[in-house]
């Protein structure tokens, strides 16, 4: 085996290769369809262009998906993130709208702190249900998913709260160094989470708990605390995403903010290579997953795919992405080419009982 092929092999074997390849193909397809797709221009000191849009629009999803990655890695799931986005956005906007000077930085910071605080409390609530009381995560977070929408609407009294606050708007639409601020926020969050998990031992401990909760307990890990922490973290990420979503349109809509974002986030996590059964997690993969999803959405609009077929299109792409990534599929494909009968596929992953 010569050097180039082996390097080629390791590249192909890298976890992020396939998600990245899919993203690349999607961008390429768009560019072929509409040559201007990738062009970026500088206008009044800001960069504009579809790639920038994709980055900016995927920022909230990236945030939510980062938290979701950790939760999923413990073998859990957090369905309440969408509602948490709505609640945090609603609280922030509600507070700001009540203040005489909406443009004061102090007001905005207070609003953010308040909303973040409440989001963390709600995250802690999820954490207690899952880690202390031992309710199955999907149900535990379903409670807040349902009730949380109600809470968000309760806060806004069912109205759409419109505010006029430049500092708040900046979270969604501001610019820094010619790029949208949202990109930096998402990036900072990603780096923070990465540092938080990979520079400390938290990442490994989370993976250990997700991989085998009982073994982790017997190794002295206080898994309850770890699981609890991930739900709080997830809520925190969702809150920031909520700020971004509401800042984007300078208004809080308790009903629409973050609707179905939990599904997209889970999808991003899984496309990124993290197993829903828990265990290993890949933050880089998650980010690529989120970008894929946003590119998909943008593509639907850009190619003017009819609304009637856009969901079909999404289904096809999701399946294609996952098929290409699935080792079993690739193995089959390769073997077909080599003309050897297909093997028995075995699920080699022993199943660990995750506490409900």
């Amino acid at each position: 085996m010569n050097d180039t092929t082996s390097r080629y092999r390791t590249m192909i074997g890298h976890r992020l290769f396939w998600p990245a390849a899919v993203l690349f193909v999607m961008l390429a397809a768009n560019t072929i369809y509409r040559p201007g797709f990738l062009s970026i221009e500088l206008k009044d000191g800001h960069l504009y262009g579809t790639p920038i849009d994709i980055l900016r629009l995927s920022a909230p999803l990236i945030l939510v998906a980062l938290g979701m990655t950790l939760v999923i890695s413990t073998g859990g799931i957090d369905l309440s993130v969408g509602s948490l986005c709505a609640i945090s956005g609603a609280i922030a906007c509600m507070y700001i709208s009540k203040q005489p000077d909406q443009n004061s930085l102090g007001v905005v910071l207070t609003a953010l702190a308040m909303a973040m605080g409440i989001a963390l409390v709600l995250g802690a609530w999820n954490g207690v249900l899952v880690a202390v009381i031992g309710i199955q995560p999907i149900i535990a977070t379903l409670i807040l998913m349902v009730a949380g929408r109600g809470l968000a609407q309760l806060i806004t009294q069912g109205q759409i709260i419109t505010i006029n606050s430049e500092p708040f708007r900046a979270i969604g639409l501001g610019h820094l160094l010619t790029l949208p601020l949202a990109i930096f926020i998402a990036l900072a969050a990603a780096l923070l989470v990465a540092a938080f998990t990979r520079r400390t031992a938290l990442g490994m401990i989370v993976e250990s708990v997700g991989g085998n909760a009982e073994a982790s307990r017997l190794a002295g890990i206080r898994s309850g605390r770890v699981v609890f922490l991930t739900y709080v973290l997830s809520a925190g990420c969702a809150a920031i995403a909520g700020f971004m979503m509401t800042a984007n349109v300078s208004s809080a809509d308790g009903n629409a903010v973050g609707l179905w974002v939990e599904l997209d986030a889970i999808l991003a996590v899984v496309i990124g290579g993290t197993s829903l059964a828990g265990g290993r997690f890949f933050l880089g993969g998650t980010i690529i997953g989120a970008l894929i999803i946003q590119t998909l959405t943008t593509t639907v609009y850009a190619m003017d795919i009819s609304p009637q077929t856009s969901l079909l299109f999404k289904a096809v792409v999701v399946i294609a992405v996952c098929l290409i990534q699935a080792p079993a599929f690739r193995a089959r494909f390769r073997r077909r080419r080599r003309n050897v009968p297909p093997p028995a596929t075995i699920a080699d992953k022993p199943k660990e009982q995750v506490p409900a």
Partner: protein, 513 residues
């Protein structure tokens, strides 16, 4: 001996995993009416050969014939249908199903497609009776100890009317009585003309039951021998590829003067420690540098004692003193804080985290004790891991492979390393030598002796009485989930006396010194 045609042949079998060549051009044959032992160190490729045979893995090359016909199974289902019945290493049953179901699932007696539950239970009871087991067959399998699960797996395999029976380390968690029971049945089956492939690390067992031996080393075939023509020593030499000089040194260690140790405050002293439904309250003191052996039959409650002492289960009552001060051992984390370590007998469910790498598995307990905010520096991790990979001879020696890819015995060593890294003051070892090859086993025994010399206390549980006797200063005997005796390990103590204690349970006066 058999001179008929082999019922099963495997020729030129090769199998690679990413980065590991698990099997390389291995030949193997199995005659009807023989017990054929497959021997080799941990990671030699025994289990892989069996999995290739039964179609769990597909081969990279080679051919398999059954009754002269070339076969290529796509999975155990096909293999079973063709008359190859297998007990895989590690218990592979469904703990959520009942005992009876585990035995008969896939082959339930039915009328018009409906399972006859009464019949299933009746037959299960009858079958287990043959193995001298009296279980509640409708209780979930998970409520029984690993050893019993192992017996159930065997029961399932022997009930399948097969021509070839494969047993991958079936005896690793069984005690002598159970083994005898199993051998009785194996002989019976052999006499009926069934070919039996048997994997074990117990040499005595091999010489007791096997007619023929095939030795693997590092994924390659060393040779096929008739048991009668291969002395034990040369078998070992063939397995490990060098001469063996291991057993020396340990013997002296044991029967040492206990009184020297017993001075001063005990490291851990528990009294009236128990848990209803699991273990009757017991009292036990363990001093630094002392090795306490726990002896008893299957299900006598040894594991329960260990779990209580580690806080894996909560005790109902009783006092605990560590270093003479009252303490509590209510959670594993607490126990670890007190310097206790616990190597579970059930390594798959309670030991390894299969997804994580060897390195991560090893440092897990130490990291947990430090808390997640203080990660162990990578350099230090590598040092520690390196040290124990070498010390325990873990293979493959790459600490970054997922631990799931290691052979069973090597996984066990990783677990051991996990606890040694924490430098515990009391190490509880529940069946640490299970599934470990003879070389490694003596290494571990030596290690235990060394550790105790260095002042570590060890609670040692093993189904092998000889091992317990060789290592312990004191032997606590369990029967029916009661600690019936604690015997000093002096000249007068031997396996027979312990068995007697177990049988009669009348040595209470010697307990609680």
């Amino acid at each position: 001996m058999t001179d008929s045609r082999p019922v099963l042949t495997m020729t030129g079998i090769s199998k690679s995993f990413p980065g590991v060549r698990a099997l390389h051009d291995v030949n193997f044959r199995l005659f009807p009416g023989e017990v054929h032992a497959l021997m080799g160190e941990n990671g030699a490729g025994k289990s892989t050969l069996i999995k290739v045979l039964t179609g769990v893995y597909d081969t990279d090359g080679g051919a398999i014939t059954l009754d002269g016909e070339p076969v290529s199974f796509t999975g155990p289902m096909q293999a079973t249908a063709a008359g190859v019945s297998t007990v895989f290493q590690e218990v592979n049953l469904c703990t959520n199903l009942s005992v009876a179901e585990n035995i008969f699932i896939g082959r339930e007696p039915r009328v018009f497609g409906a399972v006859r539950w009464g019949e299933v239970r009746r037959r299960a009871r009858a079958l287990l009776a043959r193995l001298d087991l009296d279980l509640d067959v409708s209780a979930p399998l998970g409520s029984y100890s690993l050893a019993i699960q192992q017996m159930v797996a065997i029961a399932r395999a022997i009930d399948i009317k097969a021509r070839v029976l494969i047993l991958d380390e079936p005896t690793s968690s069984l005690d002598a009585g159970e083994v005898a029971q199993l051998f009785r049945i194996m002989r019976q089956l052999r006499d009926e003309g069934i070919a039996i492939l048997f994997v074990t690390h117990f040499l005595d067992q091999v010489y007791e039951i096997a007619d023929r031996i095939t030795v693997l080393r590092n994924g390659g075939l060393v040779g096929e021998y008739l048991t009668t023509e291969l002395p034990q020593l040369s078998l070992v030499e063939r397995m490990i590829g060098k001469e063996l000089d291991v057993l020396e040194g340990i013997e002296e260690h044991s029967r040492r003067d206990l009184t020297a140790l017993e001075e001063g405050t005990p490291l851990v002293a528990v009294s009236n420690f128990g848990r209803s439904g699991a273990v009757e309250p017991f009292s036990l003191t363990i001093h630094s540098g002392e090795v306490v052996g726990l002896a008893g039959l299957l299900g006598s409650g040894r594991t329960e004692v260990a779990r209580l002492l580690f806080g894996a289960d909560r005790a109902d009552g009783g006092e605990v003193a560590v270093d003479g001060t009252a303490s509590s051992l209510r959670t594993p984390a607490q126990a670890i804080d007190h310097g206790v370590g616990f190597c579970s007998e059930n390594r798959r469910a309670e030991g390894i985290v299969a997804d994580l790498s060897v390195r991560e598995n090893m440092i897990l307990a130490m990291q947990a004790a430090r808390g997640w905010l203080r990660p162990i520096p990578r350099r230090r991790q590598d040092e520690l891991v390196d040290k124990y990979v070498k010390a325990l001879n873990i293979r493959p020696a790459d600490p970054e492979v997922p631990v799931r890819n290691l052979s069973g015995g090597n996984q066990q060593k990783v677990l051991l390393a996990r606890w040694l890294i924490t430098e515990p003051r009391l190490l509880i070892l529940d069946e640490p030598t299970r599934g470990i090859d003879i070389g490694a086993k003596t290494e571990i025994q030596k290690l235990v002796a060394q550790l105790s010399d260095g002042g570590m206390a060890v609670l040692f549980i093993s189904a092998e009485l000889e091992e317990v006797l060789r290592l312990s200063h004191k032997v606590a005997v369990m029967r029916d989930r009661q600690m019936v005796a604690q015997l000093a390990n002096d000249e007068s103590l031997d396996a027979d006396r312990i068995m007697q204690t177990i049988a009669s349970g009348s040595h209470r006066e010697e307990a609680d010194r």
